[in-house]
């Protein structure tokens, strides 16, 4: 089979096609399909337990997708994992940086995990810290950072190898309002400046902007994928939260989930 011209300008940053996954007899993803276009901020909306983290684990190849196909910038995650993972940056839901190392040391470690060392890694670390407005804290231990600062370092880390797709799994959980805004603004600016495709998983409606691409995931099934206006039109709702409730048939407040 011929690979569909990876990195071509029309190739989606992320393409998930017919992916199912179960743990034992429990089906957690059911024939899920979605796309994240290049240079687009896509929001993956779903309640806790919707399958967001499982989808991320499949995209990052922590689990192997048994059915369906996942491609990052045209590279199949299962058949071309090296090329696919080279183009992927990730921020997982739980903090995954070493608290005993400095910011720069964490970034250099991550660079090494992508085969980048020496002066190149140091320059990239400095650039990445500047991107998240943390360049003056390079020698600080991660342990001394606030939750929002640590999250920004994780974003900097995920940019070290210059990916084309950035996955963020509920990156604002546990952050105060100021930190949330800071993190969101930084990521949105990266999308605009760097033509980065972003998949932002959340259950918070106020993190969705009118220009975003939206994917609604509920009980393992993708119920909607498209723009915010299309979401409102399809569900005949006036707000995103109402649209979500109409689509999923839930009545509970999503923010409280």
């Amino acid at each position: 089979m011929i690979e569909p011209s990876p990195n071509a300008s029309g190739t989606a940053a992320l393409s998930v096609d017919g992916v199912s996954h179960s743990f034992g007899s429990h089906l957690v993803l059911d024939n899920a399909s979605l796309q994240v276009p290049r240079g687009k901020f896509a929001v993956l909306l779903g309640l806790n337990g919707a399958g967001k983290s499982t989808l991320f684990a499949l995209v990052t190849r922590l689990y192997d997708n048994v059915t369906g196909e996942i491609k990052i910038l045209g590279f199949d995650v299962r058949r071309r994992p090296t090329e696919a993972l080279q183009r992927l940056g990730v921020c997982f839901q739980s903090r995954a940086i070493d608290p005993d190392l400095s910011l720069t040391q964490n970034l250099l470690y991550h660079a090494a995990l992508h085969g980048i060392g020496g002066k190149d890694a140091k320059v990239r670390a400095q650039v990445a810290l500047e991107k998240v407005e943390m360049s003056d804290r390079g020698s600080s231990k991660v342990r001394t950072l606030s939750g929002g600062q640590a999250r920004r370092v994780e974003i900097a880390r995920s940019l070290m190898h210059r990916p084309g797709l950035l996955l963020l799994d509920e990156p604002t959980v546990g952050l105060d309002i100021g930190s949330r805004e800071s993190v969101i603004n930084i990521v949105r600016s990266l999308v605009a400046k760097e033509n980065l495709g972003v998949l932002w998983a959340t259950h918070l409606f106020d993190e969705v902007a009118p220009s975003d691409h939206v994917v609604v995931l509920h009980k393992g099934r993708v119920l909607f994928t498209g723009s915010v206006p299309e979401l409102l039109t399809d569900s005949k709702a006036t707000t995103i939260s109402d649209a979500f409730r109409v689509l999923t048939g839930t009545t509970a407040s999503l923010e409280a989930a």
């Binding site: 689990y63 192997d64 090329e83 992927l88 085969g115 500047e130 003056d136 940019l159």
Partner: protein, 332 residues
């Protein structure tokens, strides 16, 4: 707050930079993983001191107390009677390797529970390479601990003798159940293959022990890595430590020569001989005296390959045990 985000024009997205991974990339990755392991260890001074104190307590108290209780006859590689402290030192070096491996395994279970292991596993490098690099990082940390211990032991008058020649040593006694089939070879064969320059002779034991430490460290690290994949929770690990560390350590030649065990229990003797840790100890013991114990080297190497293979299988996302339970990043 740091400088504005626009202070540099370097693009983040650089697709043209991506190509097949080169040898240089592999080397950078390997160096980075080992560097992090060593850095983490150096930052954890308590871990360093506890790793050092444990064998020293055994050396200064246990070995001194048992000096007159446990007699050690002249057995290879010793060419004369030795004090019990001298006999037990390679066993205590093995203990450092064993505890360090289990400590690494413990931290991997913790990393898996908290999710930090995912950072390692989403690297584009093959998983076997990542796991092997991490193992070698653990071995590097173990080497630091071992040489700190040997430095203290040096001032306790436990030093390798001057080594004039490097020698191959082989002696194999078939397990009792197999001896009717394959016979029993017990006569040792010694073959000198390298003459050591005079200037190096007093220190040669500290050099020849290194390959033995690396191979033994890899075997124990691989075993611990495999264990970390089959252990579901951190709490379960303590029990497994008791069922692995203590039986492995005590049912080996670390504290007493196996012929002494055979005198009391032939069954326990056979168990000790099936314990791969016994061969780690002997590999280290012979290495300290300038010998390559061929049988131990073969057994330890084969066990290392088998355990590493099992660990890589367990961490394989499509086949392994981890994925069936909810994945290596089960923290979130």
């Amino acid at each position: 707050m740091g400088a504005a985000a626009t202070t540099t024009s370097a693009p983040i997205l650089d697709e043209t930079a991506h190509s097949a991974l080169t040898t240089g990339n592999y080397w950078a990755c390997f160096k980075g993983i080992v560097w992090r392991e060593v850095l983490r260890f150096l930052h954890q001074t308590e871990r360093f001191f506890s790793a050092l104190v444990r064998p020293l307590v055994w050396l200064f108290i246990f070995a001194a107390g048992f000096r007159n209780v446990l007699g050690v006859s002249i057995i290879p590689p010793y060419e004369t009677y030795v004090l019990y402290e001298e006999y037990v030192t390679p066993g205590l070096v093995g203990m450092i390797l064993l505890f360090n491996a289990m400590q690494s395994s413990l931290s991997m279970v913790y990393d898996r529970e908290t999710g930090t292991m995912r950072t390692l596993l989403v690297s584009p490098f093959p998983r076997w390479f990542l796991l092997l690099s991490k193992l070698l990082g653990g071995v590097a940390v173990a080497l630091l601990q071992v040489f700190a211990f040997l430095a203290v032991a040096y001032f306790w008058n436990i030093q390798p003798p001057p080594i004039t020649e490097l020698k191959l040593f082989t002696a194999f006694e078939a397990p009792a159940v197999l001896s009717p089939v394959i016979g029993s070879v017990t006569e040792p064969i010694v073959y000198a293959f390298v003459h050591v320059p005079a200037a190096l002779q007093p220190y040669m034991g500290y050099i020849t022990i290194i390959p033995a430490l690396v191979v033994a460290g890899l075997m124990l690290g691989s075993l611990a890595l495999f264990m970390s994949s089959v252990i579901k929770q951190l709490e379960n690990f303590a029990g497994v430590m008791n069922f692995v560390i203590f039986p492995m350590f005590f049912a080996s030649s670390a504290l007493y020569p196996l012929w002494r065990i055979r005198e009391n229990s032939p069954l326990l003797y056979e168990i000790c001989r099936f314990n791969p840790f016994s061969y780690c100890i002997e590999l280290i013991r012979f290495g300290f005296y300038g010998y390559v114990d061929v049988v131990s080297l073969i057994i330890v190497s084969l066990c290392a390959i088998a355990f590493l293979g099992a660990a890589v299988y367990a961490y394989n996302p499509s086949k392994g045990l981890i994925g069936r339970r909810g994945g290596p990043g089960a923290g979130a």
